[in-house]
């Protein structure tokens, strides 16, 4: 290349390994070997059609294909039932055993089942595929036809992203969570500030964060336009993956001299809980500024914040309390296993007792699909990742994005609330 040797970022390391190269440079186009693809009940049917249109008969490796029916499941109407049927039949025909239906949301399910490992390259026909970056994988969303191409060839083309390193230092105050960190970061970078780039999350705060919290952050990398959000593997990741990580599995680390397009450092110790107001995840305000905002509905769930840690935090604020009159609280554990665990821990009883409706694991209201669609003028505090206009229902409804603890406190008070107002 004639350029001086420079170190590689985590994203560059993983892409180099999957394209048979020693090193790659940002901006280069690569043909990569893909470890795993994921498609869902909305995107898989289109991929199946492209696959057939291309005249293909067999997928190259059924064991590397995951199909997760999660958006409109349990099937809400005939059209969604037909889409799922098409996927189910395709899975049977092609011998795809990693087919899931009603088991939960892909981005919570795949990590939980050990289907994504550090250093892997994962493509999903869903924009929040970037969630798997929490496990040190390079994972990104692509189109359905891109997925069909991997089914036929095992390969895909990718452009090497430049990386932005985000360093978080300091102790988080009580009630400040991974969700607050990523919302703050998105407001800082702007919703397209990381277009085409990879975000590499690091620092002391991150190493104290749970793997679940890291998934919340990686999940929303796309909300800043990023191709991927990625974390270095540490003791916590190894523990999380303990029963899945094969002996001697090679785990990539960024080089010391890695070149970042930009490095941003955050001191998180003075941060409080935040909320993203309509209609952009980048419209972030301190929760205190919004305490007069009355609400109609609260949603706790989704691939962003529907995991055990999230449900435990919400239960902590709801235990022995009631949802405010006139407010609907919906709880959607992100997977069937999380549902079962919450049941065993008594969290579902706490929620039901507080007056919540417990829904099956599904994307449900996150995309205005079913299970809690908003009407005209209604306001919802949600732990999901997008508050775009009309995302949860009527174009004149409003979504406020927050952490599970802020959402739970808001459900109790019937307005946007700081957790400290409930948990004295």
């Amino acid at each position: 290349m004639g350029k001086a040797k420079r170190g590689s970022t985590l994203a560059e390391k993983i892409l180099a390994r999957h394209s048979g190269r020693d090193r790659v440079e940002p901006g280069e186009l690569l043909l990569v070997d893909v470890d795993l693809t994921m498609a869902n009940d909305v995107t898989a049917p289109i991929a199946i059609r492209s696959f057939r249109e291309a005249g293909a008969e067999r997928v190259v490796d059924p064991s590397r294909i995951v199909l997760v029916m999660d958006h409109f499941t349990p099937n809400k109407d005939i059209a969604s039932a037909e889409q799922v049927r098409e996927c189910r039949e395709f899975a049977r025909e092609q011998g795809i055993s990693l087919y899931f239906e009603n088991d939960g949301i892909a981005h919570a399910l795949l990590p939980e089942r050990g289907l994504v490992l550090p250093g892997q390259l994962v493509l999903g026909a869903d924009s929040h595929t970037c969630t798997y970056g929490a496990l040190g994988a390079l994972a990104t969303g692509v189109g359905s036809t891109d997925i069909a191409a991997v089914w036929v060839t095992g390969k895909a083309w990718l452009k090497v992203p430049a990386s932005i390193k985000l360093v978080y230092e300091g102790e988080l105050s009580p009630w400040v969570t991974a969700k607050d960190l990523i919302l703050k970061t998105i407001s800082d970078l702007g919703v397209d500030g990381a277009n085409y780039k990879a975000l590499e999350f690091s620092g002391g705060t991150i190493s104290r964060l749970s793997v679940e919290g890291r998934m919340t952050m990686a999940n929303m990398a796309i909300e800043a336009g990023a191709k991927a959000g990625i974390f270095e593997v540490d003791g916590k990741t190894r523990e999380y993956l303990a029963s899945f990580l094969p002996q001697g599995w090679e785990i990539p680390v960024p080089d010391d001299g890695a070149e970042y397009e930009e490095v941003r450092t955050y001191d998180v110790s003075s941060m409080g809980p935040v909320v993203a107001i309509p209609h952009s995840p980048g419209n972030v305000r301190p929760v205190e500024e919004l305490s007069g905002v009355r609400i109609d509905q609260v949603v706790i769930g989704s691939c962003t914040n529907g995991r055990m840690e999230d449900l435990r935090a919400a239960a902590g604020a709801l235990s022995g309390r009631k949802v405010a009159p006139g407010v609907r609280l919906l709880i959607l554990p992100a997977t069937r296993r999380i549902y079962l665990q919450a049941l065993k821990e008594g969290l579902l009883e706490i929620f039901a007792d507080a007056g919540a409706t417990i829904c099956p694991p599904s994307c449900g209201p996150c995309l205005g699909g079913h299970l809690g669609v908003l009407g005209k003028g209604e306001r919802c505090v949600s732990t999901t990742n997008r508050n775009f206009l009309g995302r949860m229902g009527h174009p004149q409804s409003e979504i406020y994005l927050a952490s599970p603890i802020v959402a739970a406190a808001s459900a109790v008070l019937g307005r946007i609330a700081h957790p400290g107002e409930v948990l004295k």
Binding site: L29, L31, A56, T153, K155, D192
Partner: protein, 168 residues
Amino acid sequence: MKYEGKAWIFGHDVDTDTIIPARYLTTWDVSLLAPHCMEDVDSGFAREVEPGDVIVAGRNFGCGSSREHAPAVIKALGISAIIAQSFARIFYRNGFNIGLPLVECKEAFERVKRGDRLSLDLEKGEIKNLTRDESYFFNPIPPFMRDLLREGGLVPLLKKGGWRVSSL
């Protein structure tokens, strides 16, 4: 792979609604959509563009929605390639996946004027400005991506068995 044509200049952040306004998206037929391409910013474009011509633009070309109509309409008009300082991510994928070459080059946007004759060499990574006798350079498009372009996009490539047979 080489292309030659005259340059059409557009600015920064040309979004998919500018490329093809949403009000026309009641049809998938690109031949019906093509006459409206860029009409809100350059009303002569769709009428006067000639096969082989090249679009030169600034940052973040193709931002906005993921509609595949946008690159398809540009391709249908005979545009041979788009040179921009940068592209929005989904537009970039959609462009190559329908067989439209996209080239990132900062200098071209700063130097090229409307109507300049350009010749592009994807293999060498060179843009020659024949009008001004200048050259600008970009990351060469690797062989497997040229295969994708030569076949006319991802679906036609898959029909031939994909990259397994053509470029490895």
